[in-house]
Symmetry: D2
Subunit: 151 residues, 4 copies
């Protein structure tokens, strides 16, 4: 097995349909571009992105807050059970070459902050805008293009 | 030894003189109000706040990113070496009853985000304003008043 | 991508040739039995096991102590950078359905201890014998047989 | 507040009366010798040691597995809530200059292993004997003497 470079996808564990569709597209495009997807392994944006990547035959990695692989969403191929709650957000960011944020709340914000702190390229798809280093995009196509440019 | 309730102080590892003065005042007032201070244990805002608390005879706890207690600033009384880098930010927030942010950059932002995610009261002293749950203040007096009101 | 159940392989980062051969066989057999392999992602036993699994077309997951995926051995397919040093040992054990220890030193011992504490089945291939719950075996064939029996 | 050098005390969360008495004595002697005590913050050996140190006017630090300071035993003066379960064992060891193990089970074993791996001096008071680097003692007096000799 060759090393899969991983792109991170971050966003809320619950989301509306439009956000879900965006996340699905992003996941699908990550797989089609030959990258693996790493995320927090739970529902909402994470599940939709994993479903997209999975349906395109891609690798999906879930870095879970809980202490059991069984808590991963059904489209996570590799479930890593950290048992360390939200501190696992730092592990997602460290393991990704670049990250796409899709909307999101405080959990996503902590991950955006870790990207800024660690110098990991971060693309915001209708997500946070609070720093000029965050690349703003409006579509999944743009998100992939910008993220791949920075890897 | 009776349990010391802890107030968190977050902010950058490097800061200008005005910020340092603010952090010193906040630390001093935390100790005078009978609370312990918990922070990241390094320089800048963290060191100034610890110095303030320490000079007022207070307890200061540093949750360090490194794997050695020796990396704490000289005003940390209890040095906890996590060896887990920036993921230690979650431990600072979990250990505090409430938190005061003093200016700050991306590291501080991740801590503010953890406060919002975990429901820990967070007061911003010239720091982030991005959520209505963050209580905005302009002086160290107000910061203490607001933080103690929420404990 | 369907969820891969993971078997853990633990052992030293440096080892002699016989141990390396054992680790290679164990890795190979894990992949041939349809399981993924999770380990600490570094050299010695970890690298030999990943090489075995990788050559048999299997999935290999490395839970790294460092903060960069680049520190993984060349046979790690999915590199998770925890940035938390030896505390990452707990994540390896939590992510595995069962674990095979191959010789090993203090790092391996901490992982064996976590298996005992968390109730994860642990097979010792010429490794620690200190608890009756540790299943003692002498060959890679026996190790796989015993580990799969307990999953 | 001057930095308190910390001595670690490790052992089970439940224990018999004799072990409790030993742990109490060890805690008391740590405080009388001018050191702070760091432990896992829960019951059994940890609570007895904290009680001893606390009654002698000493500093007690509890590095908790849970996400709330409220889970500490009543004799913990400084409660650090890691939210990372048993992986917090590594933090206890990193924060201590030297460690005393008092009997104990698998959790204690993981901490002994971390001592061996990190080179932290470890004294076994009727606890594990599996490595020549572990200093074997039979009384709390000897434990303190040996531990202080190695700091």
């Amino acid at each position: 097995m060759e090393r899969k470079p991983l792109i991170g996808v971050i966003g809320s564990g619950e989301c509306d349909e439009e956000t879900e569709r965006l996340a699905y597209e992003v996941g699908r495009k990550i797989a089609e571009a030959g990258y693996g997807l790493v995320c927090g392994g739970l529902g909402g944006v994470m599940e939709a992105a994993c479903r997209g990547a999975s349906e395109a035959g891609g690798l999906t990695v879930g870095i879970l807050p809980s202490d059991s692989p069984n808590t991963a969403n059904p489209f996570v191929g590799v479930a890593v059970a950290t048992g360390m709650g939200i501190a696992r957000n730092a592990i997602i960011i460290r393991s990704a070459l670049a990250v796409i944020a899709i909307r999101g709340g405080p959990g996503t914000l902590s991950e955006v902050a870790f990207c800024l702190q660690l110098g990991v390229p971060i693309v915001s798809l209708k997500s946070f805008t609070l720093d000029p280093k965050i690349i703003q995009v409006q579509t999944s196509e743009e998100a992939l293009k910008e993220v791949i440019n920075r890897i």
